[in-house]
Symmetry: C4
Subunit: 197 residues, 4 copies
């Protein structure tokens, strides 16, 4: 399961680059101007790349705790992967509409909403493993420790929920919150924590 | 063989996201309206993702039974992978034509037809392994058990055959049957069964 | 090296599906007619998929003989992968121009020329391993056996050379030869042989 | 970490082929003329493919020295992968603008600038591993040896820095330097050295 999940996440994170388009050559505008105008695509690329990367780190840790997997774990994992694979689309949507007069709030809401969906599915799978399939863990973990992991995971959902709601006010706030979450979990102090746990 | 097959299936399942296009910005329609209009793409994405995911689970189980592989197994496996890699195309075709005045039955028939082809090739490979190459299995399986696996596999072809035929009546019936198959095999009770076995 | 090569070949073989485009919906022609008109894309997909798949089988066997790899092997392997990754482009080029009034011979020649290049690079790497780096083989092979593998490999170049030359006469001959090579190596009798060995 | 990094680099190197487009058929120009006109795309493909390939060789060596990885290594590795995944975009940008009357210097500067960024991030991660996380190495290395690896790495940054600056004069100089770097590290004598070390 790990090799397949690694493969899917590796392809999804790499497909993000397809969202960054080479500016057309006959546009009458200088290349520099066009590249600067496309800044939302670079910003969204960085935020999404780091977020998917951190998800991979956490996914790796979650799956690494398992000695084996049953059908229910495989199916919940598929649902999680399905939400991760959507992220290149959500990223392009957000970047394309960030400076549009209409639709930018919806696009930003769907962007952080996609992160929220992924985080919820990650937490559901993590909860299923830690509480329902604890006998499949490689090493026995005390119930208290397992609950601690999960409550931290549920706390981690809050920023994406807030970012999705605040998209109504401004898509820039949404992007900023998503960026802040990625930076936070990349910091040394957050080692062990993660956007989806 | 397993690493290569995992890689191919992982890329194919991830390429499904390329079928979901960001709506053009200057279309005069609201983003929400355009996204809602594109619902066949999301439905087809979910159905195809879960189906390929379940195929991966079953492929993993089938290959995991083998201690080694010969040329005939490798070639039959390639034919199976060739049908799996076609699925992103079949998915986009079905989604694009689902609301078209013409061609929607053909597109839907090709969609479930692609699943049928994949299931037939899966069954052919499984039969070859279980009956012709039983001496290459990791653990000896009684003939009765091997026949049971195969007869369940052949039964599993029926829904896709029916879905392909009923595409003449309505592409929605076809999509619904394909979705139902994916849901059925994702359920805990179906553990061990699969759309291609 | 094996995991990386497997990954590159798995992605390249899967990208072949991007060459098969969903026909545009407002073309005034029936979907069936458009799909039938696109037959060169399906034919080229099948031929290229099987050829890359057989190359993978042979690459796997070639690398599997090695106990370790040095810089020269890694670089020659990169050159081989570079030629394999070109195949989705060569495939689309051939399919797109197969029914064009002009350019179809050049496109077909480049198609089999890409297979020829790949086969030559495969043979160069195989020769380097078997003759210059024989001390890195997992199991010692008698010189006679190593020469036999190589002479079979060199013989395998002939069909692609002929297919490339005959592209001047007709692109269909070229495609037919490439297809015949793939079928030949897929047959049980060819087990152990391969289009690039 | 190695399997995931291998996967990302394998996908990124394969996506380079998407930069090579099949010429449109109704262009009034012969296919040969159009293909020759697209030479910057082939040149950029070869240079980028070999450079990413050599980076993979070096990445493999760097990660192979580690017995385990902590959060800081994983995050620095993600940043490095993020710069590698940008290369298909930078490659297409450079190729598309190489013969454009305007923007060609900026595009070439961004191309070698992307290689420079990747090399800097590689060196930062290598330095972090060799100096700050030396206790995580599989085999203890004398400080002198570790410093030697790093100083060679820092020297390796110079060509890309020069290529980026000289883009102001001519994009062809930039491409030539990048090509020369790839050729240099592919030569047997450079075994052990690399564009990013």
């Amino acid at each position: 399961m790990e090799a397949f999940s690694d493969g899917v996440i590796a392809v999804a994170i790499t497909l993000l680059v397809l969202d960054i388009k080479v500016p057309p050559q006959h546009a009458g505008e200088s290349l520099l101007h066009q590249l600067l105008h496309d800044w939302p695509h670079y910003a969204a690329y960085v935020v999404s790349f780091m977020t998917i990367g951190i998800i991979w780190i956490n996914h790796h840790a979650m799956i690494g705790r398992l000695a084996r997997a049953d059908h229910s774990i495989l199916i919940l994992n598929l649902l999680l992967l399905m939400s991760i694979v959507l992220l290149p689309f959500a990223t392009e949507l957000m970047a394309a509409y960030l400076q549009s007069p209409a639709g930018e709030s919806l696009a930003a809401g769907l962007y952080s909403g996609a992160f929220l969906l992924m985080s919820v599915l990650f937490t559901v799978l993590n909860r299923h493993i830690l509480l329902e399939r604890a006998h499949m863990l490689r090493t026995e973990l005390p119930l208290e420790e397992r609950r601690r992991i999960l409550s931290r995971a549920i706390t981690g959902l809050a920023p994406y929920l807030i970012a999705t709601i605040l998209a109504v006010l401004s898509p820039y706030i949404t992007l900023a919150i998503c960026a802040a979450v990625a930076v936070f979990y990349a910091l040394p102090v957050a080692s062990g924590g993660n956007p989806a746990s």
